[in-house]
């Protein structure tokens, strides 16, 4: 193991890690916002409301992220409409393409988590809210969603870690995030083992910090206090 090389390239790798973090942060937050209406619609009683989110979730969970990424980054350029539209400067940029794809992808998974959490809420609590005269919207906003957030939080933290690892795919569309940066450095130094090892340590560190962070968040939201039935 050639340690000097690792130390020499550490700043560049850290630079890649910031881009990775940026991608993941935007994707999981925007994905969460997008997932809330999807998840609520997915757990609706009416089949025509359920159908659209079901199709969306089925597509995004059934195909590899790499395919979705290529569809957005390379695929959209096939249509003149897209190329002439005002959004083209964004859809041409690998960063925005990756953010868009990762957001859509993770939204499908988070929506499914949210559905599970919404269905796990004890019926009595919803009935109690309705009995107190809360409207359906108010029940959803003040009772169901806060409750579902606590039930779904452990699964959501899993999803964030999965997205951290999925962000490595951004390197295939020329983005220099952690993996992309590692590949660029290897092209210069011809030392794949050392540099990939260093990149792997970065990923391990980031996921460790994220796991600890979610533990704090769970304590703050008193997730375990809600588990008693």
């Amino acid at each position: 193991m050639n340690w000097e090389v690792i130390i020499k390239w550490l700043p560049r790798l850290a630079q890649g890690a910031t881009l990775t973090l940026e991608l993941v942060a935007i994707a999981v937050i925007a994905g969460l916002i997008l997932a809330i209406p999807l998840g609520v619609a997915r757990s609706s009683r009416h089949w025509y409301v359920r159908a659209l989110p079901f199709g969306y979730i089925f597509f995004f969970r059934g195909t590899p992220l790499l395919v979705q990424l290529f569809l957005v980054y390379y695929g959209l350029a096939q249509f003149d409409v897209v190329r002439n539209s005002s959004l083209w400067p964004y859809l041409r940029d690998p960063f925005w393409c990756t953010v868009l794809t990762m957001t859509l992808h993770t939204a499908a998974y988070i929506a499914e988590i949210l559905r599970g959490a919404l269905q796990a809420i004890p019926k009595g609590e919803i009935e109690a809210a309705r009995a107190l005269g809360m409207s359906r919207g108010k029940t959803l906003l003040y009772i169901m969603l806060p409750r579902a957030a606590r039930i779904g939080l452990p699964a959501y933290s899993n999803e964030v870690i999965l997205m951290l690892k999925a962000s490595a795919l951004a390197s295939t569309v020329t983005l220099l995030e952690l993996t992309g940066m590692a590949r660029t450095i290897i092209a210069r130094t011809y030392l794949p083992v050392e540099i990939f090892f260093a990149a792997g340590v970065f990923y391990l560190l980031i996921s460790f910090v994220l796991v600890q962070g979610f533990k704090v968040l769970e304590r703050w939201l008193r997730v375990d206090a809600c588990q008693g039935r």
Binding site: G62, T63, P64, L66, L71, A77, K165, R183, P192, F197
Partner: protein, 230 residues
């Protein structure tokens, strides 16, 4: 859209076959690794526990793509020296082998946890009953623990297989000619990226549906004789 994709239809079919082959080989390796990992993690021997724990934590903490790249590019030097040792110059890992090893490694790490959960879910009394009947340790494992473990582990393994199938797309990065790689080749010739990647997406969706149906039947078969208590 042309049905034969400008003559690339057969190539996409060949790619599909390669994807399925890759997924099944990685599944086989992953199951073996997962079983070993779970046995190590649940064994009373401390170093084995540590080994199993390190394996699953380490592999699960690093992206699959990084494993694929690391195993393909990282083993060149190793394989070279191994080739010199065995008097076989130019020995190297093919993209297929590297893909199988990398994906099998990742599958195995997750499967370790699934199997471990399943082993822990088997009532202690069953093992003790085996001991009381004078069965050897290996016999208890193969006759009592493993057959019961299957049923509990199957839903988790099914999920993992679905993930594995989608992760096979990553191996296109090191040039293995599976669905994604063939789609890329088609794109460079025809300049119709959306068409080809959409077709690739549909193939993956189809494979997922087939795997889901297969899992459903396997689960039904494994659960025969069991009823969920309501």
């Amino acid at each position: 859209m042309n049905i034969d994709l400008h003559g690339f239809g057969p190539a996409m079919m060949a790619g599909t076959l390669m994807t399925v082959k890759l997924a099944l080989c990685a599944l086989l390796l992953g199951l073996v690794l997962g079983l070993l990992g779970a046995l190590a993690k649940t064994s009373p021997v401390k170093p084995l526990q540590w080994l199993g724990g390190t394996y699953s934590t380490l592999v699960r903490g690093v992206p699959e793509l990084l494993w694929v790249l690391l195993i393909y590019f990282g083993t060149v030097g190793l394989m070279n020296s191994l080739g010199e040792l065995l008097n076989m110059p130019g020995l190297e890992l093919s993209a297929f082998t590297a893909g199988v090893v990398a994906l099998g490694l990742c599958f195995g790490a997750y499967a370790t946890e699934v199997f471990r959960g399943a082993i822990l879910a088997i009532p202690k009394g069953h093992r003790e009953a085996g001991l009381a009947l004078g069965l050897s340790k290996g016999r208890i494992l193969s006759r009592i623990i493993l057959p019961q473990m299957w049923r509990i582990a199957l839903p988790g393994l099914g999920n993992l297989f679905m993930i594995l199938m989608k992760d096979t797309a990553l191996v296109s990065v090191i040039g293995l000619e599976e669905i994604m790689r063939h789609a890329q080749i088609g794109v460079t010739v025809t300049k119709e990226p959306f068409t080809f990647y959409a077709v690739a997406a549909c193939i993956y969706l189809g494979l997922t549906v087939i795997a889901m149906t297969g899992m459903h039947f396997l689960e039904k078969r494994a659960a025969r004789g069991f009823m969920r208590a309501e």
